[in-house]
Every structure is written in structure tokens, then in C-alpha cells.
């Protein structure tokens, strides 16, 4: 009896095994191939999502392309009438006068001068604020101060413009008697204050992205707080900080209201920040406000100036995005 049952038990267990294996293989095949209807629904859903994401991205790309096209066409017409050599080398900008000159230099110098003053204010202050917020201030104080700092970024620029014209300029005139009512100095100072939160906020984010372990590594070598900030945090977050500076510059170059209100509307080639001058954006505003007929040379000057401005800010933005990407890659 016992002799008989042994091979039989072995046999049944083998068939049970085979059945189990077959059942599992069926399950695997079914899962991998999937319910067709379910998969189709899933694919349709993924397709809808992908195409709506693509559409959202395409809108901004198309807008940029449209802007470049409009700027390009009108700028091209402009340079058919005015030589590009004159545009770059003439020292006068008088397209609205009878004796016309088309030198971009007075506008470009004014823009660069006011932006430089703004950067001289916002870079050191913004960086110091960022270091303070990220490394020195107690967390609770930093949590209170940062929103206050960011309120600065929310003030409308027209308010900054009148702040410069009606408060900063009279104040400065007490110390600098020959300061003109419209001048690059107070416009630049106020613009610097306006972009300070941008620098501070982005630089602080870059510093906070430095891993705690790097700070601890430096402290463990006997570094003081200042040495940690100076030798570890700043170098490690440098590309983020530089990116915030470049974004700030492009913001300053493109800033309009402050320079229109506080810096004047007289295009003169001058490097003296105490005098009035006209920035590129201010010129565009001046001409667009007047009744300049479509297709005239005056009309086309707007686009030539606009294209110049666009090129400058685009180069700066591309540069800063490249830097930002590099700084993101370091720590993940």
C-alpha cells in the first residue's frame, strides 16, 4: 500500500505544480498585455495631457516668435532707410526734429548708466540681505523680514518713479546743489531699491540649496561662521548668485516707469548722472504716446530701439538661465 502511494503522490504534486505555473503565466501575460479598452483609455488620457502641456508651452514660444517677427520686420524697414553705421556711431538721437540724427548712443548710454547705478545699489545690499537671511538671522526673524522685503517687489513701478522725482531728488538736492530735477542718479538709486528683493530672494534660495552637510564639514574643520559663509556657502552657490545678478540687470535695463518719470525725456549723450537724459524705454514711451503715423520713419525708430533692448535682455536672460541650470545640477 505504502509502496503504491509514493509514486502517485509525486505524480499529483507535479500536475498541481504544472497547473500553478500555467495559471501564473496566464496572469503575467494578462497583466503585461493589459485590458485593451483600459489601456486605450489610458493612452488617450496621456495623449490629451501631453498635448495640452505642449500647447501651454507652445503659446509662450509662439508669442516670443511673434514678437521677434514684428520687431524684425520693422527694424529691417528702419535699416533700409537709415544706415546701421550711423545708428551705432552717431552721437545724436533726434528723429523727431527736422534735422534728423539716428545715433542710438545717447539712449544706450543713459540706459546703461541708470542700470549701473541701480546695480551698484542692489548687488551689495541684496547679497548682504541674502547672507543675513540665509545664514545669520535667527529663523523666526528671517521669516518676518523676508515678506517685508518682498513687499518692495510688489510696489508698482509708477510709485517708485514719483518717489524718485518727488522725494529722493529734492533730498539729494540739499547735498548736491547742481542736481537737475530730472536726473539719472535718483532714478538709478530708486531702481536699485526696486530690484533689491529680486537679488536678495534668488541669492538666498541659492544659499539655502547648499546642503547642510557642507556647512557641517566646514564647521568640523574648525571654521568660524564668517569663514563658512565666505569659503563654502558663497562659492558653492556662486552660479545661483550670478544668475540672480544677471536677471536683476535685465530687469533694470528693461525698467520703464521710473526712468520716464524721474530721468527726463531729453536724449543727450552724457555720462554725468546729475543731468537729465533719456533711456531707451523712455524714448519708446515718448513716441508711442504721440500720434506717430504707422509706417513713418519715426514709427520705425520705436522698433529699432525695441529690438536693441530686446537683444540686450535676451542675451542676459539666456546667460542667467544657463548659470541657473548649472547650479541646479550640482545638488540634487
Amino acid at each position: 500500500m505504502a509502496m503504491d502511494s509514493a509514486p502517485e503522490a509525486a505524480y499529483t504534486s507535479t500536475t498541481a505544480h504544472l497547473a500553478a505555473v500555467a495559471e501564473r503565466q496566464e496572469r503575467i501575460r494578462r497583466t503585461l498585455e493589459g485590458g485593451l479598452a483600459q489601456d486605450r483609455r489610458r493612452r488617450v488620457r496621456e495623449g490629451v495631457i501631453t498635448s495640452s502641456l505642449f500647447l501651454a508651452a507652445a503659446i509662450s514660444v509662439l508669442t516670443t516668435a511673434g514678437i521677434i517677427y514684428t520687431l524684425g520686420i520693422e527694424t529691417f524697414h528702419f535699416f533700409q532707410r537709415v544706415s546701421i553705421v550711423d545708428f551705432l556711431t552717431d552721437t545724436q538721437w533726434t528723429p523727431l526734429f527736422t534735422e534728423k540724427h539716428f545715433g542710438i548712443a545717447p539712449l544706450a548710454v543713459a540706459t546703461l548708466l541708470v542700470s549701473s547705478i541701480a546695480m551698484l545699489v542692489s548687488l551689495p545690499l541684496g547679497l548682504l540681505a541674502a547672507i543675513g537671511l540665509a545664514e545669520y538671522l535667527p529663523l523666526r526673524l528671517a521669516r518676518v523680514i523676508k515678506p517685508i522685503l518682498e513687499i518692495l517687489a510688489g510696489v508698482p513701478t509708477v510709485v517708485y518713479g514719483y518717489f524718485a522725482l518727488l522725494f529722493v531728488t529734492p533730498l539729494l538736492q540739499r547735498f548736491i546743489p547742481n542736481l537737475q530735477v530730472f536726473n539719472a542718479l535718483s532714478a538709478g538709486l530708486v531702481m536699485g531699491i526696486m530690484i533689491l528683493p529680486l537679488v536678495a530672494s534668488l541669492s538666498q534660495d541659492a544659499m539655502l540649496a547648499v546642503p547642510q552637510s557642507l556647512r557641517e564639514a566646514a564647521y568640523a574643520l574648525g571654521a568660524t561662521k564668517l569663514e563658512v559663509v565666505w569659503r563654502v556657502i558663497l562659492p558653492a552657490s556662486l552660479s545661483g548668485i550670478v544668475a540672480s545678478f544677471i536677471l536683476a540687470v535685465s530687469r533694470a535695463v528693461g525698467e520703464t516707469m521710473i526712468v520716464v518719470i524721474a530721468m527726463g525725456n531729453t536724449p543727450r549723450l552724457s555720462f554725468n548722472p546729475l543731468e537729465q537724459m533719456q533711456a531707451m524705454t523712455a524714448y519708446i514711451v515718448q513716441v508711442s504716446l504721440g500720434d506717430t503715423p504707422h509706417g513713418t520713419l519715426e514709427y520705425q525708430t520705436i522698433f529699432a530701439v525695441g529690438a536693441t533692448l530686446f537683444l540686450i535682455t535676451m542675451v542676459l536672460n539666456l546667460l542667467s538661465f544657463r548659470l541657473l541650470r548649472r547650479f541646479r545640477e550640482i545638488y540634487q
Binding site: 505544480h17 505555473v21 503575467i28 497583466t31 503585461l32 493589459g34
Partner: protein, 282 residues
Amino acid sequence: MSEPLVSVTVRQREPAQRLAEREAVAASMTVERLSAFYGKFQALADLTFPIHPAAVTAVIGPSGCGKSTFIRCLNRLHELTPGARVSGRVLLDGVDIYDPAIDPARVRQLIGMVFQKPNPFPHLSVYDNVLAGIRLHRSRIPKPQADEIVERSLRAAVLWDEVKDKLGAPGSSLSGGQQQRLCIARALAIEPEVLLMDEPTSALDPIATYHIEELIAELKQRYTIVIVTHNMQQAARVADYVAFFLGGEERTGRLIEFDTAEQIFTNPKRRETEEYITGKIG
């Protein structure tokens, strides 16, 4: 390196249970001429070896030999890295998971994974972490059924007794070892055929490691397990089979030897294997 040595006698030296019996319990995998690339860099070259059912296969080798890349090829996670690609075949019970007709998301329903660092979703509770995989495929699960899945999975991961009173707490509130077992429970909840573990204890203390190793010994009764480990003692403790990789010229990982754990650790065929397990290289 010459031809990788895969012992033909493995089947005659089966650990403990017979292979046929284990085949009935869990799925097996076969790796055929598998190569993996990151852009132009070849991380793995021409791997061929079996992954036997209801057993633990350990992948060992020095840093940079492609162990982690390999295990990520087994559930098609490798291809998520930009520029990464794979050639060769990986069969799950005879079905090629790299078949172009197959959706990689479906492969990962059958082949679960546990990572080096415990990664419970921090925004979900213990309970919801376990159900995360199920909820991807079925939006509504009746509460009693969900309770049953959570309890079964947590019991399978030997975590139930420790967390049954705080199922609503966030997953990140558990200790490291508990988090890792929660991740194992999360992987088991979707009832995979194979469980991949990429250095599952390298971020854990010795006691938590011991718990995980005990759990692995328990789980291999029902699941096919592939574990990457840095730690040779661990491989010796948990593995039934061992694949030894070595990054050869240009750091491309190759299979040096595959055999039963006993054979690898007592009588390796290749000089490189012996040097590695005795600590002379790596």
C-alpha cells in the same frame, strides 16, 4: 574578460527545495545578453544568467560595476534616465518585458522594487503609503477590502504589530528600519511576482538590517527576490544564488561568475571572484 562563467551544474546543486516545486510558487526571470548604456557610456555588457524562482539572487561586486544599473533594468526603471538605453532581453516567466508592445508601467506592476534609502511618500500616512500602488490602478476600493490589503501587506513585511496603532501617522514619522519595511509592504501590496531590492539595508543600523534580512528569508518562500548588496556577509546570509559583477576595462560591468551562494563563497571558479570575496580587490 573571456566568456562569463555560468555554471551548468547549478541545477544539480539546488539549495534545499527542488527547483520544480519552487517554480510552482513564484515566477522566474532570465537575463539574456543584456547590455545597458548611459548615452555613449556602456554600463553593462552582455549579461546572461537565470534568476531562479522563490529564491534570493544576490548581485555583488565592487562600486561602479553596474549592480544598481542592472537591477534597474529588471523593471525598466533604467530607461527613465535621460539618454539611457538597453539591449538584449529580460524574460519574466518566458515573456520578454522589453517587448515594444508592452507598457513599462505594466511591467512594474509585476516586479516590485525597494530602494537604497527608505522613500515612503512623506505626504501620505502609513495606511495610504501601503495603498499607494493599488490606488494608481483602482480609484475606489471598499474600506474593508482596503483594510485587509493594508493589514496583509504590513504583516507580510513584519511591521503590523509595530504600526497597527498609528496607521494614520505620516510614513516619515517611523524609524529608518520601519520606513524600509513600510516600503516593502508598499511593494508587496500590489502583489508582484518578483521583488527587487537595491542595497535595502545600506542606510540602516545593524538591528534594522537584521530585521530586514529575516524578512527576506521569510519572503523568499513566496516571492522571487533579487538583491543588490555591497556587503558580502549579507550576501552569504541571505542569498541562494550569487552573481558577481566586475567593472572591467572602461568601467563596463560584466558578469564574472554566477552560481549557488554556497559554491561562490566556498569554492569560486574564477580567480577574480575569490580575490573579491577574500577582500583582495574592491
